[in-house]
Symmetry: C2
Subunit: 401 residues, 2 copies
Amino acid sequence: MTKPSISTTEEVRRYNLGGVLRLLHVHGAMSRAELTVRTGLNRSTVKALASELTDLGLVREWTPESSGAAGRPSIMVAPSEDVFVLAVDLGVDHLRAARIGLGGVVLDRTEIIDDQTAYALDETVGRLAAMLLRLLADAPCGARCVGVGVAVCGLVRAETGVVRFAPNLGWIDVPLAALLDAELGGISALVGNEADLGALAEHVRGAGAGTSDLVYLSGEAGVGGGIIVGGRPLGGSDGYGGEVGHTRVNPRGVMCRCGRRGCWETEVGEDAVLRATGYEPGTPFATVLTAYAAGDRRVARGMRTIGHWLGAGVADLVNIFNPQMVIFGGITQHLFLMAEADVRASVAGALVAPREQVNLAVPGLGLDSELLGAAELAFGSLLRNPLVAEPVGLAASRRPQ
Amino acid sequence: MTKPSISTTEEVRRYNLGGVLRLLHVHGAMSRAELTVRTGLNRSTVKALASELTDLGLVREWTPESSGAAGRPSIMVAPSEDVFVLAVDLGVDHLRAARIGLGGVVLDRTEIIDDQTAYALDETVGRLAAMLLRLLADAPCGARCVGVGVAVCGLVRAETGVVRFAPNLGWIDVPLAALLDAELGGISALVGNEADLGALAEHVRGAGAGTSDLVYLSGEAGVGGGIIVGGRPLGGSDGYGGEVGHTRVNPRGVMCRCGRRGCWETEVGEDAVLRATGYEPGTPFATVLTAYAAGDRRVARGMRTIGHWLGAGVADLVNIFNPQMVIFGGITQHLFLMAEADVRASVAGALVAPREQVNLAVPGLGLDSELLGAAELAFGSLLRNPLVAEPVGLAASRRPQ
């Protein structure tokens, strides 16, 4: 309640520079005239801010060809493609990494589909570092890396980048940011929870663009949640917020890896799906999808149970958050699509007022929500203060050869 | 993500005026020197802002007597006691109303303990309006009413002040703000959910002062939740957020007034307490408290069950919100104190990382959290923009006779 008041013109300028850069990052190229309208700043201020961002190498400006209409066309401004971050999506069965430019464009990507739990921690970190160094080496001359962001399926302490608990990777108190920093030589990685970052990306440029309140579900072996409240990510006091997979929906359910009985993820996670559809533990999830698509009745019946529990948990979240949208990400996307009627029937148990406001949706960014969210995390410091254009240090830049 | 940038010096001035007034409202009188330190503004700016607030009649300034130490003592600034709001706490069995000054001081109060469900809606509104008009009539000459805030035990649509659903009052779609406005003749009342407002007051000046993330539980017949996320109230997209009482903790539990089975409030609300302790429905809650205090074993045993379920729901909220504090307000305060060990045992089921951060607490404002929260709601518009010092219209001011 007592945050310091904005006071100096220097602070206002930095705030406005960040505001303009964020607009371009989120919405892409636009004319100075449009920037004027969108920011509410006057024309000369917008011109000065755009020039300064150009000098910082963060945007480029050009004069469009005349359309033939009366008057000079307004100068265009676009985020610079030479400014990029490295983003990582580290899941139980995959490592994805990408070079992502200002504006959220995937410029280069690489991926390993493999069971990471079969590798020792240092092997996984080593594989990841190698992927990132290759992406860095392949970046064009003069391009600048301004951050590294990692999405991981576990509870992360935001400040330190320590993964406190990732039951599905078997990690406890893994200092992932520090381990990566050591491999990368001076690049500071920021680490976040995959669902939190998926929510962030869907909010900035996915299905939830323009909403103020949304819940994003992420699922692989378990179920995670990323939540946007009043336009801002729910972090909680230490960055552990959003662990909706460990709310107890069924006191008579099965034991969870977290030590509690009947957590939401024990009722709708991958193991629960295999149980409900009659498959052995360890069967690839794709087998269930194929059987469902082929019209297998046992699978269809089992999915109705999963849909019931999935919707029951969503109803609770609708009551708690009154969101405009619930986005089913990760494997919950498939669960929702296979059992939509049962999910909706359970969600109907929420209170009328919040229920009539909510849309159930699948991600707008496909499988890339979490990767793009890691990029947003990495761009954060630049967007808050464009005057510090090299937040991760010069070591991260690729110098002309 | 695209909120307009702050640009004009006029906006900065208004922002800073609001910042200084809020500091005084929250922390009470302080010297200009302390304001300088707390705001980070320079001395001449603080002097100008304090003078302007004095001219607006919102603060008063005075020179303290010299303490004998070297140098002139810094001029003191305090919120004006002549600026007040009317606040209401409308519960199932009580109407409380108070005149509350800038700074959060209760200047006058009145209360009716009675079962409001025994009255028709217009009678309840009439009783309330009479209480407010009496408080207004008793205000000193020259004092100014700058707002009216109402805390009510139901889902409220924030923008319109319509109570969408208050099952324990039997209200559906009651336009409470409009009904009160009509009775009060031009004073615009703002209406909010009691738990949301209890959370707000506890965050501003109660047990949760200084925290960024807290959960406040409110309970009378049912259980409500007010939640602060990252220093800001969780409203949800339409103001219905925080309905934690209707999350389903026990699929085999009893039917809830909301139509769902086994909601948290059916397991820990007043009816559940009476059931668990062997009393007939309708027995006054005070009877249970008295029996517990007298060492009644049946009551003690029943409270252990209630404690278990209360803690189970809190564990879910700890996983979802990673709060620094959970505050047990309303009757949940008594439940927590009677069954603390069982509550804590259930809360231990939360994930380790968020669990080790959370404190369980009782309200710092006693029974007044919700009333003081209604006052915060009413002061909101003045604190956001002190230049509009009469947001509810002149009709609300008491003119010299």
